[in-house]
């Protein structure tokens, strides 16, 4: 019996963590309920979803032209556009920018992309202090932890946990009250916002026709970070485009509803460029870094559709596997059904093939996805590619070979059934087995295994047929 993989070990630990279960179950349950209510109140909800899906697929289907149009508009609007093929290139661009302009204090809005490319360590190495300003990410940074959900980064922490982190790292008296904790964060981060010379953000969408960088938030940290510092840098995956402002409207209708159950987030910022006059309160420079980092490769294949994802997190909240293990167990930037497809697609299947296997294919993710991404299809496709290109354990290969052999030869199957059934019934008690060998051991670890029926349906049918003849 081989040792469990790191992923399996993390899963095993997570399913036994009752504390984690309670936190995740409560949060995802609430979010899923709010999502449902928000869509129930949306006029023409299904058509809006169709339009949102179409907007994303349409942009992906013409992504080269979209990117060129987007770049043209951005440049006309006074934005400096950079292109980065991979994480290193992106980090170098931002670090160089900071160095050339003497920027030393950065405030950062939540950006999954920046975590993909590990921007923070690269900036710190370049002498830039980086402060996370999204409350959840702020706590994660203070606690030296990792986010466990793409919308609620500290889903796995209780109020007491957060209180202890702040007490330890900010030298404030302990309090578990969220209102108090937020007040502390507001006061501390305000100083950082006012002193920062560099604001870093991701982007929720890019609008090709107008060169718009669209950012949504509830806290106000994105507005602060894209208004006060001298320089604003926005990181954008090349897949994040929609063609027009009308398309953006459709996206905004479904994003907040899917993520938090709100009709729209408190702040939606449509950023077009630096200050228009010297006395406007706005950054002097706005830069956009367009990042590939595996997206073009993903676009080329069977998982192209995953690039339509708008990062709402609804699939995480609906997924019974995510609910059982939480975000950390996946070991990726993107957990849940989204991550189980996106991670192997972006980063390579050999290293990440366990993720698509950790799914019962229940389809809840596809059902709640605002743009109707067919996640189960891609999970199956990744499994098939994994087996075809990277093999499978010998035991499983032999079992599948035997299965194919027997299931195409009814008489052999009948014989195998009789033998296997007789064997099983010999060891069974009341028709059930408590322990099964080999590949079936996983079953009996958690449940009893029934022995095959003495008389199969085929036997019964044959007897009946003969009886009537």
């Amino acid at each position: 019996m081989s040792a469990p993989t790191p992923f399996t070990a993390r899963v095993r630990r997570a399913v036994r963590d009752g504390h984690l279960h309670e936190a995740i179950g409560r949060a995802t349950g609430q979010l899923e309920a709010r999502r449902g209510a928000a869509f129930a109140s949306l006029e023409q909800a299904e058509l809006v979803r169709d339009r949102a899906r179409h907007a994303r697929l349409h942009a992906l289907g013409r992504l080269d032209a979209m990117l060129e149009t987007f770049e043209r508009r951005l440049t006309e609007n006074g934005v400096r556009v950079h292109w980065a093929r991979d994480a290193d290139e992106a980090c170098r661009i931002v670090a160089r920018l900071a160095r050339e302009r003497g920027l030393r204090r950065a405030v950062k809005a939540k950006s999954m992309l920046s975590e993909e490319i590990r921007l923070n360590p690269a900036l710190e190495a370049a002498g830039v202090q980086v402060v996370e300003t999204d409350l959840g990410e702020y706590v994660v940074q203070l606690a030296d932890d990792r986010p466990s959900h793409i919308i609620l980064p500290i889903l796995h922490l209780t109020k007491e946990d957060v209180g202890r982190v702040m007490e330890r790292r900010l030298a404030v008296p302990f309090t578990p009250r969220p209102a108090e904790l937020c007040r502390v964060a507001r006061e501390r981060l305000r100083g950082d916002f006012l002193a920062a010379d560099l604001g870093i953000s991701g982007a929720n969408f890019g609008v090709a026709e107008t060169g718009t960088i669209c950012l949504v938030s509830n806290e106000g940290n994105i507005r602060m970070g894209t208004t006060l510092p001298r320089v604003h840098v926005a990181l954008l995956g090349i897949e994040k485009l929609v063609p027009t402002l009308a398309d953006l409207d459709a996206m905004l209708k479904v994003l907040a509803r899917s993520a938090t159950g709100q009709k729209i987030t408190v702040y939606t910022s449509l950023i077009h460029g630096p200050r228009r006059t010297p006395d406007e309160i706005a950054p002097e420079e706005v830069h956009v870094v367009l990042l590939d980092h595996g997206r073009a490769a993903t676009l080329a294949g069977e998982e192209a559709e995953i690039l339509a994802c708008i990062r709402c997190g609804a699939c995480l909240n609906a997924c019974p596997v995510f609910r059982a293990i939480g975000g950390h167990a996946y070991g990726t930037v993107y957990p849940g059904p989204l991550g189980s497809v996106l991670t192997p697609a972006l980063r390579g299947l050999p290293e990440w093939r366990e993720l698509p296997e950790a799914s019962s294919l229940c389809g809840a993710c596809r059902e709640v996805c605002p743009v109707r991404i067919d996640l189960p299809r891609m999970l199956l496709g990744l499994r098939a590619r994994g087996v075809a290109r990277h093999g499978a354990p010998l035991r499983l290969r032999l079992a599948m070979r035997a299965f194919a052999l027997l299931a195409t030869r009814p008489r052999w199957l009948r014989l195998a059934r009789r033998i296997g059934g007789a064997l099983a019934r010999r060891f069974a008690r009341d028709g059930w087995l408590r322990r099964a060998p080999g590949l079936l051991a996983g079953w009996t670890a958690h449940r009893d295994l029934p022995a095959p029926a003495r008389r199969s349906f085929d036997d019964w049918w044959e007897e009946r047929r003969r009886g009537r003849a």
Binding site: T8, V11, R12, V15, P320, V321, A324, I325, E357, A358, S359, S360, L361, C362, G363, A364, R366, E367, R377, L380, L382, R383, A384, R385, G386, V387, A388, A392, L396, M400, R401, F403, A404, L406, A407, T408, P410, L413, R417, G421, W432, L439, L440, G442, W443, A445, H446, R447, D448, L449, P450, P452, A453, R455, S456, F457, D458, D459, W460, W461
Partner: protein, 256 residues
Amino acid sequence: MAGGPSASPPQRVQLFRTCLVNDFLPEAGIAAVGLLERAGCEVEVPRGQTCCGQPAWNAGFREEARAVARHALAGLARTEGPVVIPSGSCADMLVHQTAELFRGDAEWSATARAVAARCVELTAFLAGRVASPPSGTAKPAASRVKTAYHPSCHLLRGLGVREEPLRLLAAVPSLEQVPLAAPEECCGFGGAFSVGQPDLSGAMLERKCAAIEASGADVVASCDAGCVLHLAGGLRRRGSRVRVVHVAQLLDGGAA
């Protein structure tokens, strides 16, 4: 069930009994035959049935899945009439998944499409044929069997069969429907997932068993033999007295 002998000739249907029903839950298949015949159908069981190939397909073994699916499709293609399947996941496999399985193979894609158009899950098929339940004949609550329905995932989301099983169960006077908490959550069977990912499958099973025990149900019914065996095995391991059956068995008047 209502419906006496009909004036028109009986409709011929093919029963694709599924491997799990054949080997582990023949009572469900027997009940299905009874239900179909009482609904005015002449049931045929094409010979040489084995499996639809889903276990290999779900595990990523495309070649093996194709081989088994070809065998199933060839057997069904030789027949006529609706193909009735007492399993949501097998029905979904033959209705939707074979298109993906045979992508790039024009000949087998066409065969798959033709068979897919004839395939229908058992309760979806029956729901169109059952007369509306007579009113006021429900037995007193105390003598009715408390029944919870577990909607299997491929049936619910793959095939969109939501109300039909509930409607059919509601028409059985000896049953009292009780709701399950978070009913649409996957039970954790997922085919080979139950063996390949035991920790996850076990965690999901535990949640579902807890919900079942909390519901006060005496019996849990599902349209999928896989879910039935998985839940039965789990509840038994927990020492529970709740019985798990296939919906066909309940509709046929058995197990009540």
